[in-house]
Symmetry: C2
């Protein structure tokens, strides 16, 4: 079924009540036939004149219902019609005019290479024109759905570019970068990192703390900002901390492959984990708290009387339309646990790709393409994470893995394949024995815990519950039962959950 | 807002009642605030246990409401879950495996040209993988939404290919076709058409009717089939006939540019218009009548007991999910009139492009690419026409011009621009004076009729209505009026329609 949030996007003048009614009726439809009809109060709306009550709703799967209700608590008066319209016909008309001008009125140059480049750029631009007006909307709508459609199209173009690079020989692929920037395609100079790790260097009399100041470069605010944004994406303190610490472990483990992973111990743990990342995560969590508390009432710009109010409204256009708290709950069942492990794995892989890709494609770290890639990931990562969360948390309602999540996963995999193909020697450098031991131990621990938590513990619990049920059974038989499909007594919901988990695991 | 039909697609187990409720509540939300709450009977559903009543609905815009109700009369029991699921994760996994195999386990050839070709083909295939699972659904769902998503992606690829060709020099563009088929890129031999037009040729004693038999080639069934499909697209007898006749006029007018437009008079009017096209249109109309009468009850394959029933159900999977009759009503208002004129114009332009594109890109008429282009248009034309109809007929509900319609329009324009750029001399060959006079007369007639029908006649009507209203006014004042926005007495609906038309024209 359609996602409740995506309905507003791209179309004008939707008031939140409409959305509520739809999501409510969609939910009702999804829950199957309605033997147990009950009147549901619908969505609480601040305006008394806009009440649409969906009167058929079953009382199962309370959690997902609760979340949908939370999302319903958005009030939007739905003005700004022109701003929200997709302008499909206008874009088509302008596109036609530009094509007529460029191809018929301008003389075509005779340079084949230049024309080829121009043709490819024109194709990409036309694709963007199409995508920005017509692509499927994702979960985000602020500041404008077209903004997120634009990034979706960029994601597609980037993935196709990566696939093309993946199919070239190593030499051709590196030289292909010259078409983008003639300065590229040149082997990078070897660099030496690490070095002197003394916090207080008595050998340097003018400034004994010079080692610390040396590390205070542009990467400190970059790390901070990066983790601030990552926290907004992941929306969970624990997952952020785990990824942050895991990445330092990865740097330790892989410094024999990439020399720029070798840092001083205090650079790893104090500067990175504690100061930059920690502060970023802390500020991110503060922002999250604000976003989840903030009232979501969208008054149209023209309905706000004061100038100050108008400016504030414009600024708020850059905050989300509504807010969904992420509750990953990895330990609640095996599916969620594996999903969270998978997300952490993909996240770390994407982070590693940043460094390895630069290395194999001979990109200098300060090149604008490296920065563009990060800007790109900042924009698409949030959407992808939200889509993964939706797919994991509420698979009945979000039946497809979101498009952006699909693409980001494909991109991460493709980037990794490029790294493996372009420099198999570096990747295959054997891991030092101690490091390998540590990783083996870590994986064993996770495996054992998984086995205990979702298999052994559950079997014990199930055994206990079966015994308990047997004892309760005589008392139960006297009680009259309603419709079998719906009248599961609420006292047993936990038990049902347990059974479901077991069934899911078996299939 | 979401289209009611697109909601079912790509997701599993949707029963039609859910769809009805959603479309009803969405319609209610769209109609603004609900001062005048009335209980609406919702969608008639064959199964009595599945009633979801949307109880808020206003009684305006009856026609679009009626259409939505008609579409609701589809019954779908929503089984075949696996068949309908989008398999996003499965496709991603298989794609990853294929990429790993092809790029890491196979050795990369050292041939740069071959790798470039392979890279482009791989990019297109990955794009198709993404699009088929993730692209936005269109109005059609049978035999499977993925089928229509596939054609949407093909449309995008074709448009980007055209844009690329458009940006090349004439020579490069023609030679570029060699990459697709090495036999292309060679100038076509000049051909002579027309010739002897005698129905009964007394000079040929063995078979005086040989001229007729000569024309009985593969194009006769092609014309018939083509017009059968076009009728299913346009769904209107009159529009089909007009386009069919207009195209023969165009052939007459342009035979000085393209020699294969020059045919005998009886080939134009008897063989083409009457026999092939006419019969095609007749059969198409019969099929339309069957499709609009046929009951739309979709029982899942597993719920059908007999083998014969199952086979019938599988065959019916290739018929539409529901059916929308097109009522173009070109004379009802200026907007519709201009839209219908525009559609006819684009349709004829697309037909002409078939011939001109072959001519300028040096494609032999029997080449498989020419056939592929026609197969492509057969598949996307129907979707595009439906989207245009939706956009024209119900712009409140379909706020965007559909994606396929947008692309087909862009493709038609791009193809025409390629023709103009690649062979401006042929296009600019002056039209014979008589032909020019005829066209001028035709356009003048259309223009005069437009002026009379939508401006002069309306002003007269409006004057009459104002006078009539003035006479009725004293009687009206005594009657108590309800809420001004909703309680327009039904007796005035025609008048309101008239007013709306006038307002629209002014804006």
């Amino acid at each position: 079924m359609t996602k409740p949030e995506s309905r507003k996007s791209g179309v004008a003048a939707v008031n939140a009540t409409g959305k509520c009614a739809t999501s409510a009726s969609a939910a009702a439809a999804e829950l199957g036939d309605d033997d147990n009809v009950s009147v549901e109060p619908g969505c609480p709306s601040p305006s008394t004149s806009t009440h649409i009550r969906a009167n058929v709703m079953k009382q199962t799967s309370r959690e997902s219902m609760y979340r949908r209700n939370t999302e319903c608590e958005v009030y939007d008066d739905g003005t700004n019609t022109f701003f929200w319209r997709a302008h499909t016909v206008t874009v088509l008309f302008i596109l036609t005019c530009v094509l007529v001008y460029v191809t018929l009125l301008e003389e075509t140059p005779q340079d084949t290479t230049y024309n080829t480049k121009r043709g490819i750029v024109a194709s990409i631009l036309v694709f963007l024109c199409f995508g920005v007006t017509q692509a499927k909307d994702g979960p985000f709508t602020r500041p404008h759905p077209a903004y997120w459609r634009f990034w979706l199209c960029v994601t597609v173009v980037y993935e196709l570019f990566l696939i093309f690079i993946l199919f070239q020989t190593v030499h051709d692929g590196r030289q292909f970068m010259k078409y983008i920037d003639p300065k590229l395609g040149v082997a990078l100079p070897e660099r030496d990192y690490g070095g002197n790790c003394l916090l207080y260097d008595p050998g340097n009399t003018t400034d004994p703390f010079h080692n610390i100041w040396d590390k205070m470069d542009g990467f400190v605010p970059a790390h901070f900002l990066g983790w601030y944004i990552k926290t907004l994406m992941i929306r969970d303190w624990w997952m952020c901390m785990i990824i942050s610490v895991m990445f330092e472990f990865l740097e330790y483990s892989l410094e024999h492959q990439l020399p720029n992973f070798s840092e001083c111990w205090w650079d790893h743990w104090i500067m990175d984990v504690l100061v930059c990342n920690g502060l970023g995560i802390y500020c991110g969590m503060k922002a999250l708290a604000w976003l989840s508390m903030k009232p979501y009432q969208w008054q149209g710009l023209w309905n706000i009387p004061t100038y100050k109010g108008k400016i504030k409204r414009i600024a708020f256009q850059f905050t989300p339309y509504s807010w969904v708290k992420f509750e990953w709950k990895p330990a609640s069942n095996l599916r969620r646990w594996l999903a969270v492990l998978g997300i952490i794995f993909m996240f770390l892989l994407a982070e590693l790709n940043t460094f390895y890709l630069k290395f194999v494609l001979w990109m200098p770290p300060e090149h604008y393409l490296v920065l563009l890639r990060l800007v790109f990931f900042v924009n698409v990562g949030g959407v992808a994470m939200r889509e993964i969360y939706d797919f994991m948390d509420d698979p009945k309602f979000h039946k497809k893995l979101g498009q952006q999540a699909w693409l980001v996963a494909a991109i991460t995999v493709t980037e990794f394949l490029i790294v493996v193909k372009y420099d198999p020697n570096t990747i295959m450098l054997p891991i030092p024995f101690v490091v390998a031991q540590c990783w083996f131990l870590g994986i064993l621990l996770i495996f054992t815990w998984t086995l205990w938590r979702f298999f052994i513990r559950d079997i014990t619990l199930r055994y206990k519950e079966t015994r308990q049920r047997k004892q309760e059974a005589p008392a139960d038989r006297d009680r009259p039962l309603g419709n079998g499909s719906t009248a599961a007594p609420s006292g047993r919901s936990k038990l049902n959950g347990g059974c479901e988990t077991v069934r899911q695991r078996k299939s």
